[in-house]
Symmetry: C2
């Protein structure tokens, strides 16, 4: 009965966290603005209730019994559920309750200050709040514990296995490959892209975007697609997985690729084994967030795989440009599959991460990783972050930062006390390429892609990644699927080959 | 500090119940159908968490201290908060946990069975489930306690003060007045209403309906209006109060009056004192439902007041018919303010409560009250409910029931274990007329209505009813506002005068 009791209490925790996610979705998609104050209380209460349930007597008693009942050395979902709950209870009991409360309170005020600072385009307004966030994050790292570097404790929250020691050589490797390639690309002739910026009615774009999401396998019957200012995917169980996107009347690519990206996240959640619903295998008990995927990086890998590996491939547009042209014959009168494919792969370095192309994207996360590491170890004073940021953008991207709003204040992460997760966009890119390389080597997957049938690729991903939910960690999944842990070689090869082709380099 | 601790824990309970309400809204307006199973778990978990928090040690300790700190004899919000929490804790500690669980489980299965039975148009499919619901309700009544009649315990949950002893003479009174009036009306010439059933494009209807909701004072900036199969109002705090409605392409009146009705509910929630947010003065701790209004009947009174007293008045359409005509000049080519007003007040007895007009509405709740009372006291066997129902419709409304789906199975209430609340539609009608009569006697209110300015009426209602939230009970509010408790005289006078005018009776 104790394992059953453990499922009961972790089921309730899953319910509370999924409810919190729905409240967050609604706040960003449906809620009238004045509802924000009450909503913040409601979300906080649900999260606290989940934490209290996790750290409560009922869970402790159930765990104790379950540890006697379940063979924890076996490779079973039951063993994973017990082990993960045990680890999460141990984790949260290391974090003092007052630290959790201070973190929650700080993120609320810091978010407001950040918004004000961003509006005023002035980092100095945000600087004291960032100093508090850095101090609190260091305190959190000390409480959570780490082997080598305090930043490791933060990295590990979002992506178990990420450490300074593992990410430093990864980034060095990427930098050595991307920097010279980018120089070559940015010296070459720029592909035409004028036709992307003609007048594309938003409603028609939304319809097309929804169609492409379904083409790659997102099940609209178990989800929905709405507009949001900052697009995201969120789920409340595998049978209710929602996407948001944005469309720009004068940028056809934005709506298409944002939607493919979010659909990739959604396909992950929809592909998780139904038997894992309401268990810790679809709940992040460390972050207290109801997510079914392994980690931030693994989740991102699925978004990037569909957005970039599939969605920006020449093959994809050879199959699908006709549909776009049918929808917008006037606007695309002088484009074809090839010119469209080149246009959506145009690389242009800029100061803003979310607007970055595939080639320059990792240059943005690279210096954020450095800055965060230095902030946490104390080698970079908060007062110097703006200068460090602006210098890094100049060095890595070769452009000047026009102002703090498009510089050090551009990301929402820090003000919500998320330090340690920018690197996961890169982990996602690398993992996507690694998985896609292996998948494509399967003849049925390759055959499928040749005839615009994405079911075999989805099937391979489901077998190797999706269905397992949070049962295994990233390195285990990667090793089973590709024979090795995270490896940047396929990603570098992909970037070299794609941009070589798009820009006709030799 | 104990009163502060009480506010803290009741604030969390309010958060949990508001979150449950949002999950319910989403389930009926946004959720993809396959999400229903997970959603049911999530809502149940939130409600159980609220009940556990209410009955937990922290609340008990906080209450104990608050009782020492707060002067409970004073007429203050603090005293009301303490008294209501104390009463709710006492109430829930009388209801065994297993009874709560059986009730929850039963409502889930009973709802499915009811839907099947309704689809098959056959009461016998639902009969065993109804028998269980009646047994369980009797058990609940015994646990909750009552002075005179077991049905009183159920009535009291939805509307404190409702008893068999108070409702029996109320209904007798109404029957004596409505039955002869209805005979007279139904013998008179039927007003023209053909123009209501022409082709009215739904999107345009929605726009108009939203406009009318705002005209009477619903603040769309703190809410939203969506379509739903079964319209309702729901709030997650006074700054996020949402309406749903339905429009029928061939029935202009439906969308208009459903929206005015729901807007009346919404205006109630939006008008509650902001200081009562997150307290028991905006949370029903007995029903474990986040509602800011006093009771089901009082809430209904505000909906009926705006829908019927204001919205179906001759004066209202003298002011507003022009706007309708501007929107639908072709469809309303041969109608005017007077003929429109008569058309939307046409009375036609039928078997279905939700389709009933103002004159015959209470005849529907009248026999439901009788049947429920007899079921709970055991004088009517469940096996005989269908016959009793069909006989009652024949006697009270003079029409035959065409089948169970439009007869004994038409309402969703019983299958969700709600026995004892049909009478509140009538309490709402009576209370609406009583409040409106007094309000109209204020010269500023009357002047306002004369120039289609609804702010003075809303101001009077806010002062007398809305702003108090759940601080006082219905009889207290009515006595302050009108000098007496619930009194059917103004309602009877209203019906007599309105239908006399619509049908030119003398």
């Amino acid at each position: 009965m104790s394992y059953a009791a453990l499922l009961h209490v972790t089921g309730q925790i899953n319910d509370l966290l999924n409810a919190a996610s729905l409240l967050a979705w609604d706040a960003r998609v449906m809620m009238p603005a004045p509802g924000a104050a009450a909503r913040a209380h409601q979300i906080a209460t649900l999260t606290v209730a989940a934490r209290d349930a996790l750290c409560g007597d009922a869970t402790a008693r159930a765990l104790e019994g379950a540890l006697r009942e379940v063979d924890c050395t076996a490779d079973t979902p039951e063993a994973a559920i017990v082990a993960q709950t045990q680890a999460a209870v141990a984790y949260h009991s290391r974090i003092p309750a007052d630290l959790v409360q201070r973190r929650t309170a700080l993120t609320v005020t810091a978010h407001e200050i950040w918004a004000d600072a961003s509006h005023a385009n002035d980092f100095r307004i945000f600087q004291p709040a960032l100093a508090e966030i850095v101090d609190l994050s260091r305190e959190w790292a000390d409480a959570a514990g780490y082997a080598e570097h305090p930043y490791d404790a933060l990295l590990d929250m979002y992506e178990p296995g990420n450490t300074v020691a593992s990410l430093t050589p990864l980034y060095a490797h990427l930098k050595d490959a991307i920097a010279p390639l980018a120089r070559q690309v940015h010296g070459a002739a720029v592909p035409r892209h004028d036709f992307l910026h003609r007048d594309y009615p938003p409603a028609q774009q939304m319809q097309l975007a929804a169609g492409f999401a379904q083409t790659i396998g997102y099940d609209m019957g178990r989800g929905r697609l709405n507009l949001a200012l900052h697009p995201f995917e969120i789920s409340f169980g595998r049978d209710d997985v929602r996407l948001t996107t944005r469309v720009d009347r004068h940028d056809l690519a934005q709506g298409l690729f944002t939607t493919l990206h979010e659909a990739g996240h959604g396909i992950y959640e929809q592909g998780i084994d139904g038997a894992f619903g309401r268990t810790p295998l679809t709940t992040d008990l460390i972050l207290l967030y109801a997510v079914g995927g392994v980690s931030f990086g693994a989740h991102e890998s699925q978004a990037r795989l569909w957005e970039n590996q599939v969605g920006r491939s020449r093959q994809f547009w050879q199959h699908h440009f006709a549909a776009l042209h049918d929808a917008f014959p006037e606007q695309l009168r002088d484009a074809d599959a090839d010119s469209f494919w080149r246009a959506v792969n145009r690389s242009a370095p800029g100061p803003v991460r979310t607007a970055a192309d595939e080639l320059t994207y990792d240059l943005h996360t690279m210096f954020r990783f450095e800055i965060e590491k230095q902030l946490i170890e104390g080698s970079l004073p908060v007062a110097e972050v703006r200068d460090a940021w602006n210098d890094a953008v100049q060095i890595h991207l070769g452009v000047a930062v026009p102002g703090d709003a498009q510089g050090v204040l551009q990301d929402v992460h820090w003000c919500t006390a998320q330090i340690g997760t920018f690197c996961n966009y890169t982990v996602g890119n690398v993992m996507a390429a690694q998985l896609f390389e292996t998948a494509q080597a399967q003849s049925d997957v390759a055959d499928g892609l040749n005839r615009a049938d994405y079911a075999p690729l989805r099937g391979w991903l489901t077998d190797n990644v999706l269905r397992h939910g949070r049962r295994y960690d990233r390195e285990t999944l990667l090793t089973w699927a590709t024979g090795r842990g995270l490896d940047p070689a396929p990603y570098i090869e992909h970037l070299t080959s794609r941009f070589g082709a798009v820009y006709d380099l030799n």
